[in-house]
């Protein structure tokens, strides 16, 4: 039974609309890069994102001149926006690896139309995330001290510290994500090399494709490698946010020192990541007319993943509150009280609304299939997940054991400029990506077509 018939009978939307062939899939996706004129909308969008990137560079430049004192961080809140944003960005990246690696191992073939740009999203999100700890160390020009290298000072990093674990986890994650994305692109770069009529483009795509010719031997090794890389990336992605949660959970600060952190951080990461996938996929499929490839099925499935991970996150909040009460520890109990009644109570209430209450509308099928509703709900989830990290970092730190060491945190305009600037950097990279590289994996889409089946 071919793919289309199968989906028609089980009543779900197809992964690819019927009627496509190898040639139409190839032409449709590669023409976006090769022949479609660059629209005014692209220039306007890229221009805005680029200006925000310039703002980021300005904020970072000023930071290098003046130091982290320009931010709102003080004692007791030494972490502030930098760590909130770091955790937020790295969490967003997780959905890309989940889609490309875990769903590949689970043979969820619908992933083939969204994995490429989800992986690109991962890469750019990790790049944005990486900026924050580097500039937060205070002397960013010495950030390489985080890596173990033989030096004349005779000192080495402290391997019992979760912050060093984080250096290894995040740099491994960035490297493996980049590799996964690039090897996934090689066969499509060969397609662009062969389709392109511009000599410069032929040369550049040709160099990047490394002489890929689609030999059966090559494909055989390629598929083995791809599967192995997916198998390696799967525990990796689960480990990265676990290690990020260790940055908190290993510390003895009330509100941080809980064993629920690793699973609830991972679920939260995938939750916010799928929200970002939807926020990118919905406008992209509309603007580039890719509704045939990114169908209602993809939107529905992503919404379901959001709903499920959102409920895991809700469970995490409930357990945190329960343990605060059940432990009988007065500091834990106070942390819970302080979240609900302290000076940041509106942040906590908004977080509960954004992450738990509002996304429950995804139970309604009609909203799961409405691109506009999904886009808005995804935005709400992204805000909610950002607030969650704010509550974890700032609200836990601002009132710990001794009342004499309590304080408040007020972000400055430099904090906001850096944060919004990284959103600009992320969007600039996405704009460039959809313009110069195939945003949907062409060769993996070909394998989904009914004509790809070999009849015995």
């Amino acid at each position: 039974m071919d793919e289309q018939v199968k989906h028609a009978t089980d009543g779900r939307a197809p992964v690819i609309e019927p009627g496509h062939t190898f040639a139409t899939v190839t032409d449709k996706i590669s023409s976006i890069v090769l022949t479609r004129p660059t629209s005014t909308g692209w220039f306007v969008g890229f221009g805005i994102a680029f200006l925000l990137t310039m703002m980021l560079l300005y904020a970072l430049g000023y930071l290098f001149v003046r130091g982290v004192g320009i931010w709102g961080i003080t004692i007791p809140i030494g972490w502030g926006f930098a760590i909130v944003n770091f955790v937020w960005w790295i969490g967003i990246g997780h959905a890309g690896t989940l889609i490309s690696a875990i769903l590949l191992l689970l043979r969820q073939s619908w992933r083939n139309s969204i994995n490429r740009f989800a992986e690109a999203m991962t890469l750019f999100a990790v790049a944005c995330a990486g900026i924050f700890p580097l500039v937060h160390v205070g002397r960013p020009w010495l950030a390489y001290w985080l890596f173990p290298y033989p030096n004349s000072m005779g000192v080495w990093p402290q391997f019992r510290s979760p912050l060093i674990w984080d250096v290894f986890a995040v740099s491994t994650y960035a490297t493996i994500s980049a590799l996964f994305w690039f090897v996934g692109l090689i066969p499509d770069l060969a397609t662009l090399r062969d389709r392109s009529t511009n000599p410069a483009a032929q040369m550049i795509y040709g160099i990047l494709a490394m002489g890929w010719r689609g030999s059966a031997r090559h494909w055989h090794r390629y598929e083995t490698m791809y599967l192995l890389l997916a198998g390696l990336a799967t525990p990796l992605v689960l480990s990265v946010h676990t290690v990020v949660s260790f940055d908190f959970a290993i510390g003895i600060v009330p509100g941080w020192h809980t064993t629920i952190f690793p699973p609830y951080f991972v679920a939260g990461a995938i939750y916010s990541g799928f929200a970002m996938v939807l926020m990118l996929a919905i406008p992209i499929r509309k603007v580039y007319g890719l509704e045939d490839f990114i169908t209602e099925r993809h939107l529905q499935n992503s919404a379901k993943v959001m709903l499920a991970t959102g409920l895991i996150v809700a469970y995490g909040y409930i357990i945190e509150a329960f343990m605060g009460w059940y432990s009988g520890n007065r500091y834990d109990t106070f942390t819970l009280w302080n979240r609900l009644h302290g000076p940041y109570k509106w942040d906590y209430i908004a977080l509960l609304l954004c992450n738990i209450v509002i996304p429950q509308v995804l139970w309604i099928r009609k909203l799961r299939t409405s691109p506009l509703a999904l886009f808005l709900i995804s935005g709400v989830v992204l805000v909610g997940m950002w607030l969650e990290r704010f509550v974890i970092v700032v609200v836990s730190l601002h009132r710990d054991f001794l009342t004499s060491s309590w304080g408040m945190y007020y972000p400055t305009r430099w904090d906001w400029m850096t944060y919004i600037g990284t959103i600009g950097l992320f969007l600039s990279a996405m704009f460039l990506f959809v313009r110069i590289l195939p945003m949907i994996s062409i060769f993996e889409m070909r394998t989904l077509l009914p004509e790809a089946e070999v009849k015995e």
Binding site: T26, P148, W156, F159, L179, M210, G211, L228, R446, V454
Partner: protein, 178 residues
């Protein structure tokens, strides 16, 4: 004037099924040095041309072992002999704290080995290859499927191989100049 050396004879097919069937028949007919080209991976095609050995998993495993061992030993050496620091009375060799970095190093080295191993075993990057001399080969990255018999095959003959490929009912046949 010397004739141009010939690299092989190439036949073009319309569907993945035709290519697999053709590759199987060529292999059964005794051709050993053959290859097939397709725009996407086809299950069973590598077996059809008689390709079985695949060392990518071995390379990946070795990379992972090297990464994990070097990660653990680096931490062991630093923490016990090069730069021992007493942290809250914990033993210098506090192995549970070393697990995370060991794990990450295993994944990092295994992943890099998988990718570089695949590229190296495939002989890539290789910008020039004789098959690119066939103009129709540009469709191998779009919607056409190709079978080649290399001229180094002991059974290769300019006419006999052409006749054999004709029998497979291809869309076109071209000689590949070297």
């Amino acid at each position: 004037m010397k004739p141009t050396p010939v690299y092989g004879m190439m036949a073009e097919f319309d569907s993945p099924g035709d290519l697999v069937a053709a590759a199987e028949r060529a292999h059964k007919a005794g051709y050993q040095k053959i290859d097939a080209y397709s725009p996407f991976p086809i299950e069973g095609l590598a077996e059809a041309i008689g390709f079985h050995q695949n060392r990518v998993p071995l390379v990946t495993l070795l990379g992972g072992i090297v990464g994990g061992l070097s990660g653990y030993l680096l931490q062991y050496w630093i923490s016990t002999s090069s730069y021992p620091v007493n942290i809250g009375g914990k033993p210098y060799h506090s192995w549970p704290a070393f697990i995370v970095v060991t794990f990450e190093m295993t994944i990092l080295f295994a992943g890099i080995s998988a990718v570089l191993g695949m590229l190296a075993l495939n002989g890539l990057p290789m910008p020039y290859h004789p098959v690119f001399n066939v103009p129709r080969f540009a469709f191998a990255s779009k919607d056409r499927f190709f079978l080649i018999v290399f001229s180094s095959d002991p059974k290769y003959g300019a006419q006999s191989t052409r006749d054999f490929l004709e029998g497979l009912n291809p869309r076109s046949i071209s000689e590949v100049p070297s």
